[in-house]
């Protein structure tokens, strides 16, 4: 008990302490190194949660099979991103886009963001999870605006306004859940504790719970980037520093998704409440189709992959909306694969944009010739994200499509249509980016390849062979999700 609760404490304590220290320390080398060490420490603490005995769920913190998947994924990508960020930021300092003062701020905010996300995952309290998502969001808003260009400020402003509206709706939903729990659980702290709520959910007032879920889905759905509430996402990805694009796509969207899933489980525990499935399926499909069409007209490379994130979040929400062991399993797998692949792509894109000095797709050509390592990494990444075998996303998409065909053949038609559309757009862009006559700066890139190679290697491995214990684990979680 004590060892495990210590591990949970470390997952939270390391980032917040590191944030305080990093805010005070000057110097690039030292702080970037410390950022990596802190992220590694958090990852180790998270991994130790896998082996030690779980603590009893308390009033505030909880570790169960569901959130441990999210925590490990979160801290892993957080760690690799910190490695990527070190070389990325070095270049930004050289070109003068970031000043040393902002660098301090950047590293401190990075750790605060990791703290917020980890807190959201381990919290056992629907109020606390709201606060944590809010912290993570506000820090990313600040980081998106860090370059202080016109476009960056507009992106941050838009993100802030839409994010605030989303978070306000989510809070209203949270209050409604409390109101629903009030007559059954009684006043006070208990009526917000997740484990208590789920046990008693069957006796809650279903009408109130329904309305609450709609608010929560809209509120947290804004953060997931579901259409039509996605307007902030492409701008925020395109204008902020690329490490932030990577964590936004790979992690922050998952945090919001996790909150939605928690409340979905709550709703499913009440027999008289509406089924959350159709709502999520509709929003997921809308996002998928919308993003697939939007992919065709993108001229900015980071925007392109931002729309691809909307597409994939749509697929994941669709899968969880379908429900059932197989679709949930596929959704969970897809989420993990998407996080790894998309952040890997953003590592490659970050270096590419730096070496070429532009994010405009038309000005980047023939990468496989001018920068083979970066170019081929991008090719692997895009092939993976487009859902080609033998990479991991192919497998999860295949599972989603086949389970949809088996249960709701009509829904499979728009799903497959959207997937093919997105596939076409991505391959089209990839050919112009990666092949042909090289254009633009051909100077060798000073890049850190390790993070992206690690991500793609994991995705490839998962596509070929999923270890047995992992499959069992995911199946168990899929059953939990109902």
């Amino acid at each position: 008990m004590t060892v495990a609760s210590d591990a949970v404490t470390w997952v939270l304590l390391i980032p917040i302490t590191a944030a305080a220290v990093l805010a005070a320390l000057p110097g690039y080398r030292l702080t970037a190194g410390l950022n990596i060490v802190a992220s590694l420490g958090t990852l180790l603490a998270a991994l130790s949660l896998l082996v030690v005995e779980r603590p009893q769920p308390g009033q505030y913190l909880l570790i169960d099979d569901l959130n441990i998947v999210f925590i490990v994924l979160n801290t892993f990508v957080g760690f690799t991103t910190s490695v990527f960020s070190a070389s990325y930021i070095a270049h930004e300092l050289e070109t003068g886009r970031l000043t040393p003062g902002y660098l301090r701020f950047y590293h401190a905010m990075y750790q605060v963001m990791m703290f917020g996300m980890n807190l959201a995952f381990v919290s056992n309290n629907i109020g606390l999870i709201w606060v944590a998502v809010e912290i993570a969001t506000l820090t990313t808003v600040l980081m998106v605006g860090i370059y202080r260009t016109h476009a960056a400020l507009e992106a941050a402003w838009k993100y802030f306004i839409l994010g605030s509206v989303g978070i306000a709706l989510a809070l209203f939903g949270t209050i409604l859940v409390y109101m629903a729990a009030l007559p059954v659980v009684g006043e006070g702290q208990d009526a917000m504790v997740w484990t208590v709520l789920i046990r008693r959910a069957a006796t809650f007032d279903p009408a109130l719970l329904n309305v609450a879920f709609i608010f929560l889905l809209l509120g947290y759905g804004t953060k997931v980037g579901l259409a039509p509430l996605h307007a902030w996402l492409p701008d925020a990805h395109a204008e902020g520093p690329t490490p932030i694009s990577a964590v936004l796509s790979g992690l922050l969207l998952n945090v919001a998704l996790y909150a939605v899933l928690r409340f979905k489980i709550l709703l499913a525990a009440n027999p008289d409440a509406i089924s959350p499935g159709p709502l999520m399926v509709t929003m997921g499909l809308t996002s998928l189709l919308f993003a697939a069409f939007m992919l065709y007209r993108r001229r900015d490379i980071k925007r392109l992959f931002a729309y691809s994130s909307i597409e994939h979040m749509g697929i994941i929400v669709f899968a969880f909306g379908m429900g059932g062991p197989l679709a949930n399993f596929a959704g969970l797998l897809h989420m993990v694969m998407h996080s790894l692949t998309k952040s890997g792509i953003f590592y490659a894109v970050g270096h590419i944009a730096q070496v070429k000095g532009t994010q405009r797709i038309a000005n980047i050509r023939g990468l496989t010739e001018s920068h083979p390592a970066l170019g081929w990494s991008l090719v692997i990444g895009v092939v993976a994200i487009a859902g080609l075998p033998p990479l991991g996303i192919f497998m999860s998409e295949f599972l989603i499509v086949s389970s949809t065909f088996a249960r709701q053949p009509l829904l499979a038609i728009p799903l497959v249509f959207g997937l093919l559309l997105a596939f076409g757009a991505l391959i089209l862009r990839l050919t112009s980016l990666a092949f042909g006559e090289p254009r633009g700066n051909a100077a060798p890139a000073d890049a850190s390849y390790l993070p992206m190679f690690a991500h793609f290697a994991l995705v490839l491995t998962a596509g070929i062979y999923l270890p047995g214990p992992l499959v069992v684990w995911f199946q168990h979680v899929a059953n939990l999700l109902g």
Partner: protein
């Protein structure tokens, strides 16, 4: 006594909705800020009354925060910002007043129908409070979408947050964590917004969000 307690809570919450309506048709920034300060004062009174009838002393803290921070500090600060920027003359509304008011009425009707229907089992006071709170939240959203000026969007957002505080205090015995978090989020929100306003002014010499529109979509 119980009836009186109920009536006063009702009066204050209803007053909040009314003041939200008043925000909709203000076409000057200073006037909008003054109305917002009034909104915060009524909110503080409403929260304090809830603290009294629920016998929940910690709610007085929330009331105090609303009174000091939202009714005094923020309006004063925004007054100064507006003065510095020299944008005190008027604000353009994206939609004219008539349709805005009609939309506002529609939203209030919607929230009444929705909340009163689904909260049948709850205590009548909490029920009405929630219905009013949702109205305030939706009217705050309406202010945000009908204004193009950054300052008035901020005001719209804060009135929305007021609605949330009303809802949170109406829900009996809601843990303190949440109230603090609400107040705290407003604080953070304001810092963030302040930073943004500062930067936006620095860069654009205007806080009109419309001026940002030229950068919309694909850049370069």
């Amino acid at each position: 006594m119980h009836n009186l307690a109920f009536d006063i809570a009702h009066l204050l919450a209803g007053g909040l909705v009314l003041i939200s309506f008043m925000m909709l048709y203000q076409d000057r920034l200073y006037a909008l800020l003054n109305i917002f300060a009034l909104h915060a004062v009524v909110l503080a009174a409403s929260v304090a009354w809830q603290a009294f009838i629920q016998n929940a002393p910690h709610l007085y803290v929330t009331a105090a925060i609303a009174l000091v921070f939202k009714a005094i500090v923020i309006p004063v600060a925004l007054h100064r910002i507006i003065k510095q920027l020299g944008i005190h003359r008027d604000i353009e509304t994206a939609v004219s007043i008539g349709p805005t008011m009609l939309a506002g009425m529609g939203l209030v009707a919607l929230s009444m129908v929705l909340m009163l229907r689904v909260t049948g089992a709850a205590d009548p006071l909490a029920r009405e409070d929630l219905a009013f709170a949702l109205s305030v939240v939706l009217l705050g959203l309406l202010v945000m979408v009908t204004r193009r000026n950054a300052v008035s969007q901020v005001v719209g957002f804060m009135s929305l947050e007021n609605g949330l505080v009303l809802a949170a205090t109406g829900a009996k015995g809601m843990p303190l964590v949440v109230e603090i978090s609400v107040a705290f989020s407003i604080l953070i929100a304001f810092i963030v917004i302040g930073v943004f306003l500062f930067r936006i002014r620095e860069r654009f010499d205007t806080v009109d969000v419309g001026a940002l529109d030229e950068f919309r979509g694909e850049r370069r």
